[in-house]
Symmetry: C2
Subunit: 446 residues, 2 copies
């Protein structure tokens, strides 16, 4: 999906619409906005992510010669339209919430302003890119809130929905505050710290569990996390204690153990006591297996002595809500605002900006969605320009900067919104200007 081969990953209707625009010589400037209509249940806020990959896509947008040739064989498209397609690039402007920004329902995350065909043809992949990481970051941050100070590692690659999902979930969860990932390619591609333990198969391939522990510890001196639940967790903890002196003679400390099944909180207590009793108080306990923010919270509330967690499938698939109710809608064409009135899917018209207001303690008080440039707005405007004339603007941001942005915003989030159990609603107000515009358009049936 590199270079100019990503453009064909789109819905057929984008191309048939483009052909109609081309035939009608409709080339006016359009503004589209991507927003989430409604927060999912169990999400008091969302976290914007995926902008970097979106800009990469838009900068390299185009159809290859071979793709154009193939499109020509479908019978839908006239040769002159295919010619036009072959030269099509994205030359527009993009405004966006910087990655790591907390946001709420109806707020534009991405605003694209470009000749209508360019703004239209990028829709499918734009949503595909931004929705995925935003959804995962918004899920992962809940584990971060549930387990403050604990080591959190993304373990979700195997059950992610394909290669890109696994890679981007590693990025999005790191952005949300995870400490790292098991995903080696994500480590190489994004510089995310990578973590690993051992699998049951390694233990099972050896005739003796203790022998497996010893060999693995020697193979990865000082870095081995020993998986102790293949047969009997408590039993295996004893084997680790028995093994420790032999390893110590070789100057190999036992770094930690991993629990992956059973009652993790209870087992952690037993294992902690066995390790401590055997002089291994420096050996950490890492837990994994069907975890999510609710499990983390529950275990930590019982005082489970667990130092870190591998959070996998449920985070990587956003299991409790594996999509966002998002839409990319035309807001303005040729200088005139537009509004969809489909039942239950009405949108606020025009080019918009989001302003954030804080109380005296620096906590977010409310947001306001307003017309771009609407006078009288005193809040902090949230959208920044990410592309100008089809080019990335302002250079690439580091993942570290995005993590810091989110961390800072979490501190300014009203505490009720940070609950992973209780629902709380952040007020998102609609400006007077936007209300007036909408009423005017509804009266005129525009």
């Amino acid at each position: 999906m590199n270079g100019q081969t990503g453009a064909l990953l789109t819905d057929l209707y984008q191309l048939t619409m483009l052909q109609a625009y081309h035939r009608e010589a409709m080339s006016g400037t359009a503004t589209f906005e991507l927003f989430v209509r409604k927060l999912p249940p169990n999400r008091n806020f969302l976290v914007a992510a995926g902008l970097e990959q979106l800009v990469d896509f838009l900068e390299n947008f185009g159809f290859s010669g071979e793709e154009c040739e193939w499109l020509g064989t479908l019978g839908y498209f006239a040769p002159e339209f295919i010619d036009y397609l072959s030269g099509l690039r994205f030359t527009g402007d993009v405004h966006a919430l910087p990655e790591g920004t907390v946001f709420f329902q109806n707020e534009p995350i991405i605003r694209v302003t470009a000749p209508i065909s360019e703004a239209q043809i990028v829709e499918t992949r734009l949503i595909n890119i931004v929705q995925l990481q935003t959804m995962i970051a918004s899920k992962a941050v809940r584990s971060v809130l549930a387990a403050p100070g604990k080591l959190l590692v993304d373990f979700g690659l195997r059950r992610a929905h394909g290669a890109e999902a696994g890679l981007m979930a590693a990025r999005a969860s790191y952005l949300a505050g995870f400490d790292g990932t098991s995903n080696v390619l994500a480590g190489k591609r994004f510089g995310i710290p990578i973590y690993g333990t051992m699998a049951h198969s390694y233990v099972m391939a050896h005739d003796d569990e203790a022998e497996a522990f010893e060999q693995f510890a020697e193979s990865l001196p000082g870095n081995a996390l020993l998986l102790i639940d293949t047969y009997d967790t408590v039993d295996a903890a004893g084997k680790v204690v028995a093994l420790a002196p032999r390893l110590a003679e070789k100057n190999i400390p036992v770094k930690g153990v991993r629990l992956d099944s059973g009652d993790l909180a209870e087992l952690a207590k037993s294992v902690r006591s066995i390790l401590d009793g055997g002089g291994l108080s420096g050996c950490s306990i890492f837990a994994s297996g069907d975890l999510d923010e609710h499990e983390l919270s529950r275990m930590l509330e019982t005082g489970a002595p667990i130092d870190g967690f591998g959070v996998g499938t449920r985070m990587t698939t956003s299991q409790d809500m594996p999509y966002l109710n998002c839409a990319y809608k035309l807001q303005e064409y040729a200088g005139r605002p537009r509004r969809k009135r489909s039942k239950g899917k009405e949108s606020w018209p025009g080019r918009k900006e989001v302003y954030r207001y804080y109380d005296d303690n620096g906590h977010m008080r409310h947001d306001m969605i307003a017309e771009e440039g609407e006078p009288g707005m005193e809040g902090e405007p949230l959208l920044v320009q990410a592309m100008a004339g089809g080019q990335r603007r302002g250079g690439r941001e580091t993942l570290t900067a995005m993590r810091e942005r989110l961390r800072d915003q979490l501190q300014r989030l009203p505490p009720a919104l940070k609950s992973i159990r209780e629902s709380a609603v952040h007020p998102v107000l609609i400006s007077d200007g936007l209300r007036r515009l909408t009423e005017r358009m509804d009266r005129a049936r525009l």
Copy 2:
């Protein structure tokens, strides 16, 4: 993710385990099996898919020079191990359920037999590939069962979890019996029929809805599906009727209309009556918007005159269960069966085969999981050899053949299992031989 660049998309522990195996000179033959421990709620059966992409991955498996160099910088791996990695290929055998095969809990979907390091290192991506398509095919087939004889089109790309998820969901849903996809790249890559309509933005970019319909119909003569819910669905149906004679003069029939919001079943009835009253009985009605098998079934039960459906997000994300509880487990090493006994995650040991038994009407009666080569099995063995010595065996199968396999199997599935509302359990028996082996191992604590 082509050629030899897919190997790094793995969990770090696969590499650290490989280094340990390398150091221990453990190179015996291992058999791993991929299976689903438990069917998800709302799934009476699953559909195997993704084998073709798995074999592509295994045939091309390898680390590039640049990847090896990078791995060398991590501090975990010795130079001689990196050397070994750089030459590592997959040379094993693979047995698998052919794509489109119906299967149940605990039945091996994929069985890999190879030197242990090869069988181990491919684990993460193997699960990642097979889980995704199997999950989607198993979800999509429920829409096929819910709407027999209706046109079903995958509309899910935009909210799929990334590029590969969107592409593979198009493939898996087509395999499951969908008629096509909106995904253009899936059409090119897999020869899947592609379908498209028009978006609200196209209508909104025009000052007049009827003008938008006319232009679009002229741009795509005879193939235009007009989206009629942007402002008022019933109103717009009238505009289509009014427009039809003008189009007819140009020999352009009105192929169909699409509804995307509101009470689809009720609106379809109103629209059908308006179209029929206007002499457009040949104009079909296509519906989309938050659909899944339950919605399809509900609408069709009310007699909604809908000819086809765009099924998107909920299918593509397998919304009600976005992962399968699957595992890839070591079953045998160096000629000896192995068994995991982790609490709640116990597995049946040894190399296995699945046999299917039918009743006198040709309906599936039960399956039996047995030891490979266990005597006395009279059922139909389900696993076929997909790779031998690291090479694809038997050539590529067409998607059409897979669709036919599934269609045939659906006819032989007991009717209760085909319900999308009621749970029904297909008996999966464990052979005497497998039970005896397990007992023997448990007694010996192996």
